[in-house]
């Protein structure tokens, strides 16, 4: 039942590296992570790869498979032609640590820059009442498993290290959108800070992030575009502009 698969693996570290060809057994129903594990156990004991749940729920085994950002645990070997060589490389947008493992600390730094959820001060635990339909908008974004494939594919930072400082990336645009659409969050100006501090304006909605999302979150359509539209609305609507000056409102609600 087992057949041989030609696998090409990038091996190296932050200073040097190269693709290495190996032949490995593959069985019916196996995913790319299975064959990487087999290589690790039988041919390359020190091959570095991140993984955890092996069920598409934790977002650890992100890598590029034939150049596409993917979860190795959710990529069937059978989805490629039998004689095709499968090439696995580390995420390109982040610095390599070793082999298939990259330094994704950029994302955790950005997470710390997004102001946290702010609960109404007068609403005691247990007293919250929300309609299902109202929580569903944010729930879509809370499905995010933080695999960072959207960050990896986003051309604003993929080959532009210089943009990382001022650009939070799609994962954090949906985090801001999630908080912005949270029925109870009391913090104002989330959209404006998305635009002014987190680089929302640099996104030109090519939808690459949506395409690679393993959770099928409609990042562009449901988070980025609605926020962009509202930012534009408020910025260029003369009546609201005047209103904001007269009542000294602190920006966009």
């Amino acid at each position: 039942m087992a057949r041989k698969l030609n696998l090409r693996i990038w091996r190296g570290d932050s200073t040097t590296g190269a693709l290495q060809d190996v032949q490995v057994d593959v069985n019916e129903g196996e995913v790319v992570l299975d064959v990487i594990h087999r290589v690790q156990a039988t041919q390359m004991g020190d091959l570095a790869v991140r993984w955890n749940c092996k069920a598409g729920k934790c977002g650890s085994c992100s890598m590029e498979i034939n150049g596409k950002p993917r979860l190795a645990c959710m990529t069937q070997v059978a989805s490629y032609d039998e004689d095709e060589t499968i090439t696995v490389t580390p995420l390109r947008a982040f610095p390599v640590i070793k082999d298939l493992v990259t330094d994704v600390s950029f994302n955790y730094k950005k997470a710390m820059e997004i102001p946290a959820y702010s609960h109404p001060a007068d609403l005691a635990p247990g007293d919250a009442r929300m309609e299902q339909i109202d929580v569903e908008r944010s729930q879509e974004f809370r499905k995010c498993i933080e695999c960072f494939l959207c960050q990896d594919t986003c051309h604003v930072i993929r080959d532009h290290e210089e943009n990382k400082k001022s650009f939070a990336g799609p994962r954090f645009f949906i985090r801001i959108a999630e908080l912005d659409m949270h029925p109870l969050d009391t913090l104002k100006n989330r959209k404006r800070t998305a635009q002014e501090e987190h680089g929302l304006g640099m996104c030109n909605i090519t939808k690459c992030c949506t395409e690679v999302c393993p959770e099928h979150i409609r990042i562009t359509d449901n988070a980025i575009i609605p926020m962009k539209e509202r930012v534009v609305d408020i910025k260029y609507d003369p009546a609201r502009w005047l209103g904001s000056k007269i009542r000294k409102r602190d920006g966009i609600v």
């Binding site: 156990a41 598409g56 650890s60 493992v101 946290a116 609960h119 247990g126 299902q132 929580v135 944010s138």
Partner: protein, 627 residues
């Protein structure tokens, strides 16, 4: 030799799943400086895999529910081997812990009135599980992770440094808990990324490392479930209680082989999924034990009516506690009535329309569609038992989660024992994490009021260093991957769902043999992100856990919950009154008997005497609990 990296904190939390993060929040809110250690990236802990929900008697769906009903269900589920005080605290405090998550930004599914929705689950009398579709664990861990960030932002405003009071050390493995003068002084470990060693000086250490599933061949656990905390605790002088009790979740995926063991949430049955064998027979009606006959329907018509009218019908037997369902499936398969790939069929497609299935069980639909090519809205799933959860764990004081016998050491979550008795109810794990994670944080804070810094000695550092260096110094020794595979074969075949005396004896000697060979494990390659090196340490932990499990299982001559003996098929009152306590003497694990704390009168009185007669002796019942 480069200088050793050193950190100093008030509290060190080992493990960044639900329990560890909840403990860290509590300790930080008590004003302490806290370090959180994750073996993987922040937010990837096994808690994300919890699907069904978090059990708390909020009474949002059925207002007959309250802590006493929840307590009774928990004790029943654990076959009265639970530590009563843990079950009591858990049942009483679970609702507050859920509501608190909402204050931190969690978004649970709602009822029509806008409250947190609650769903049915095995062994719970009323709909009790707060949930978010079938990704409740992800919601819990993300909420805790974001709560940590919120506190860090607060510290940034107050102290000018976001990491002044709470810092996450990701991808770091702890290899030893250090003690000086009989008390905890810190911990030693290495960065997985570089292999560089790290010393943490901390007078209080909270272990929250989760489970031991990777000791077994078929498991729902990720690579992290290697019993690290169990082994660290044992080696530092703490005890493990009742390690023979392992929960085999009845429904893991069985096909294709690469996904074998991956969890299929109990919510599939909670939402109306039925179990059938290869002949199409809905077999669970044959497996209702006497103690549950009053609560479970014995015919299809009544079981089906229950979904519409829960007050006037008994529950379907698919919703029996997990140990019962797992054994039933095991029996069906062994009798030759299983599916082609050695499982049985679980079908929700006939009960619910496709759109509702996709909405209520989205990740199950996704998982089967992408990994097995099965559309669960149209066809049944093939499922079978998978090693899921360890009920046994570190022996702790219920109120403050302090590890018995080691001042300064605390344990919470799956790594702690006692709460679930011989079998855990689904949904009780997530609230266990929150209730006892918080209590461990409080316990550490209280301990530190009377115990200051406890400096680590050079001798302790040298010993920890030597241990890490050893596998690199050996040449041509054993391969850790092969030893791990051998261990998994042994546990699967000899310490699995059904056990016998001769097999357990065989397992004990084989595990000892692997342990001898593991002392000679050699590692190829360098220290930098080297999985072979990492596994060498994980293996050490798994071997201690497996030894403890096999030895406890050999002693317990009865079948109860997550421990089934072919040679002692029934429950036995004698054994219900005994815990098995494992300790480590530096050479091997020793197991002794210890009396289980007796239910006090006020909790005893919550049960119907006729029910207790099924579990207790007439003398115990005549006493009516302790004073």
């Amino acid at each position: 030799m480069t200088q050793l990296e050193r950190h100093s904190y008030d509290v060190l939390v080992i493990g960044a799943g639900g329990a560890g993060l909840r403990a860290a929040v509590e300790a930080r809110e008590a004003g302490l400086r806290v370090a959180i250690i994750c073996k993987s990236l922040f937010g990837k802990a096994h808690t994300v895999m919890a699907e069904g929900g978090a059990a708390a008697s909020m009474g949002n769906v059925n207002d007959n529910d309250n802590w006493m009903v929840h307590f009774r269900d928990t004790m029943r589920g654990g076959k009265f081997l639970n530590h009563f005080r843990m079950a009591e605290l858990h049942a009483k405090e679970a609702p507050d812990r859920i509501w608190e998550l909402e204050v931190w930004g969690a978004l649970f599914d709602r009822t029509k009135e806008g409250k947190i929705s609650q769903r049915n689950f095995g062994g719970h009398e009323y709909p009790r599980l707060a949930h978010v579709g079938d990704r409740t664990g992800l919601e819990l861990i993300r909420t805790m992770q974001q709560r940590i960030v919120a506190l860090q932002q607060q510290d940034g405003r107050d102290h000018g440094d976001m990491e002044s009071h709470i810092k996450v050390f990701a991808e770091l493995t702890i290899t030893d808990i250090l003690k000086e003068n009989g008390k905890v002084s810190g911990a030693y470990g290495y960065w997985r990324e570089t292999g560089a060693e790290v010393l943490f000086e901390a007078p209080a250490v909270i272990i929250a490392t989760g489970g031991v599933g990777k000791t077994f061949k078929i498991t729902s656990n990720s690579w992290e479930g290697t019993g690290d905390g169990h082994a660290l605790a044992l080696k530092s002088g703490a005890n493990l209680v009742d390690m023979e009790f392992l929960q085999f979740h009845p429904t893991g995926m069985v096909w294709p082989p690469s996904v074998r063991g991956i969890l299929v949430t109990e919510s599939v049955r909670g939402e109306g999924g039925i179990l059938t064998n290869a002949a199409g027979e809905r077999f669970m009606f044959k497996y209702i034990p006497d103690v549950f006959k009053k609560m479970y329907a014995d015919n299809e018509a009544e079981a089906d009516r229950w979904y519409l009218d829960q007050d006037n019908n008994r529950r379907p037997p698919e919703l029996l506690p997990r140990d019962e369902v797992a054994r039933a499936i095991n029996t069906e398969v062994k009798a030759g009535r299983g599916s082609e790939h050695g499982g049985v069929f679980l079908d929700v497609s006939k009960r619910l329309p496709a759109e509702v299935i996709k909405k209520r069980l989205p990740s199950m639909w996704h998982q089967f569609y992408e990994l097995a090519g099965v559309d669960i809205t149209k066809e049944p799933m093939e499922v079978g038992p998978t090693c899921h959860y360890v009920m046994g764990g570190v022996e702790v004081e219920p109120d403050n989660a302090a590890a018995v016998g080691v001042p300064g050491l605390f344990a919470a979550g799956e790594v702690a024992g006692g709460m679930h008795g011989s079998n855990r109810l689904g949904g009780n794990s997530l609230t266990d994490l929150l209730v006892f994670g918080r209590r461990a944080g409080m316990g550490a804070a209280e301990y530190l009021k009377h115990n200051g810094n406890n400096p680590v000695s050079e001798a302790a550092i040298k010993a920890a260093e030597a241990r890490i260096a050893a596998p690199f110094d050996r040449e041509g020794g054993e391969n850790s991957y092969s030893l791990h595979a051998e261990l998994q074969e042994i546990t699967h075949n000899l310490v699995g769902i059904i056990r016998t005396e001769s097999e357990l004896e065989d397992a004990i000697s084989k595990i000892a043999d692997i342990r001898k060979r593991s002392a000679n494990v050699a590692v190829s390659g360098g220290r930098k992100f080297n999985p072979g090196f990492h596994l060498a340490f994980d293996l050490d932990n798994m071997l201690l856990v497996a030894e403890s499990t096999a030895k406890s299982a050999l002693l317990r001559q009865e079948s109860r919950g997550g421990h089934t003996r072919d040679d002692f098929p029934g429950m036995n009152n004698k054994w219900r009154q005994l815990n098995h306590i494992s300790s480590f003497d530096g050479i091997q694990v020793n197991v002794r008997e210890q009396a289980l704390p007796v239910l006090p009168k006020e909790l005893f009185g919550l049960f119907d005497v006729h029910e207790l007669e099924k579990y207790m002796t007439s003398e115990e019942i005549a006493k009516g609990g302790s004073n």
